[in-house]
């Protein structure tokens, strides 16, 4: 008879186990999301993260051991970001027509995302470390972590707050835009990508291809602008 403990020791040391666990958690989460008719509250990232985290905590597995397997999924974020060029080309005429509104919304939105995070964090009495981690949270995770490193924040906390911003935006965006009676799907998508980077973009693609395209553009543009603005705004608001 196979010893369960020996089997666990063997499997938990190989990347296969946690790669498989990540995929299974996502399949369950995506199934629930599809079953709900893609209801915004049934967010696949949130559900999959909760499932995997629970398994890690119960089994006493470290994040490092988990990531040794999950890194293969994480790696695909790179090529997927590059792939955003395809919907961009496909919708080029619409993007050209919306260039001016897009750039003005980019500048206003980027400043509002950073300043509101800092001011609210100060009002809530959060410490300096939390404020530094919150400031770049609307940029895509890789950029946000890089910014936090430069301003003296904690990159790991920044990553978690960035993902949380992504999930929050993906859940809020549809009911909020409907409440505002906004029918412009380019505007809705752009706001989702600017505020909630890739996770907002994933949600935008669920709703409408045009919204997803504008969300994808917003990831790149706001990543760049946030990297430029955060150090300047921090010097001004957090001397």
């Amino acid at each position: 008879m196979i010893d369960i403990v020996d089997l666990w020791v063997y499997l938990s040391g190989s990347p296969l186990l946690w790669l498989t666990a990540t995929l299974i958690a996502y399949v369950i989460a995506d199934w629930l999301s599809a079953k709900s008719g893609r209801h915004p509250a049934v967010n696949p990232v949130l559900i999959a993260v909760a499932l995997v985290s629970l398994v890690l905590l119960v089994s006493g597995t470290t994040f490092q051991a988990y990531f040794a397997g999950a890194q293969f999924v994480h790696f695909l974020l790179g090529p997927a970001t590059v792939a955003l060029a395809v919907p961009l080309i496909r919708h080029l005429p619409q993007v050209r027509r919306a260039l001016v509104p897009m750039l003005i919304a980019l500048i206003v939105g980027s400043i509002v995302a950073i300043v509101s995070a800092i001011v609210l964090a100060q009002a809530a009495g959060l410490d300096r470390a939390a404020i530094l981690a919150l400031a770049p949270k609307s940029a895509t995770a890789a950029i946000a972590m890089g910014i936090a490193e430069k301003t003296g924040g904690d990159p790991a906390l920044t990553a978690v707050l960035t993902i949380l911003t992504g999930i929050s935006g993906a859940i809020i965006v549809t009911p909020l835009m409907n409440a505002l009676r906004l029918k412009n799907y380019a505007a809705r998508g752009f706001a989702a990508g600017l505020t909630s980077h890739g996770i907002g973009t994933a949600r935008a693609f669920q709703v409408n291809p045009l919204a997803g395209t504008f969300a994808g553009i917003a990831i790149g543009l706001n990543g760049l602008l946030t990297a430029l603005l955060v150090p300047v705004i921090l010097r001004w608001l957090l001397p």
Binding site: F67, A70, R97, A98, V100, L182, Y185, Q206
Partner: protein, 125 residues
């Protein structure tokens, strides 16, 4: 599919190289996206294979954020301490940023008469 995936990786690699060379404040994949975009502008129309592979990756974009999200297990001490306040701040700033960005975009578009972008396909309510 393989050629298309190689195209994506080559674009990313070129992006990473440019970022390292020029100390751009951007991750390599974002620069890679700009490079592929420029390449496809010159070389229209889009190859069918590249379209299919890209659509396949983007269809499950949510999956790719799961490993980074699970990083939350490393921050449980911190979140136990001021998690409620952090969560509240994230929620409110996200709400403000979403509303302001979308309203400015839609407002300026309307002003310029560029708000007739028809969403393609059906949209979920």
């Amino acid at each position: 599919m393989l050629a298309a995936f190689a195209t994506l990786l080559i674009s990313q690699l070129a992006g990473e190289a440019l970022v390292r060379a020029g100390t751009l404040p951007l991750p390599g994949p974002v620069v890679g996206m700009a490079l592929l975009f420029a390449l496809m502008l010159v070389r229209a129309p889009l190859p069918k294979e590249l379209e299919a592979t890209s659509d396949g990756l983007l269809k499950h974009l949510s999956l790719l954020f799961v490993p980074a999200g699970v990083g939350v297990v490393q921050q449980l001490d911190r979140l136990g301490h001021d998690g409620v306040r952090l969560f509240a701040v994230v929620l409110v700033t996200t709400l403000i940023s979403l509303a302001v960005t979308a309203l400015v975009f839609a407002g300026v578009a309307k002003l310029l008469g560029a708000d007739d972008l028809a969403p393609d396909g059906e949209s979920r309510p």
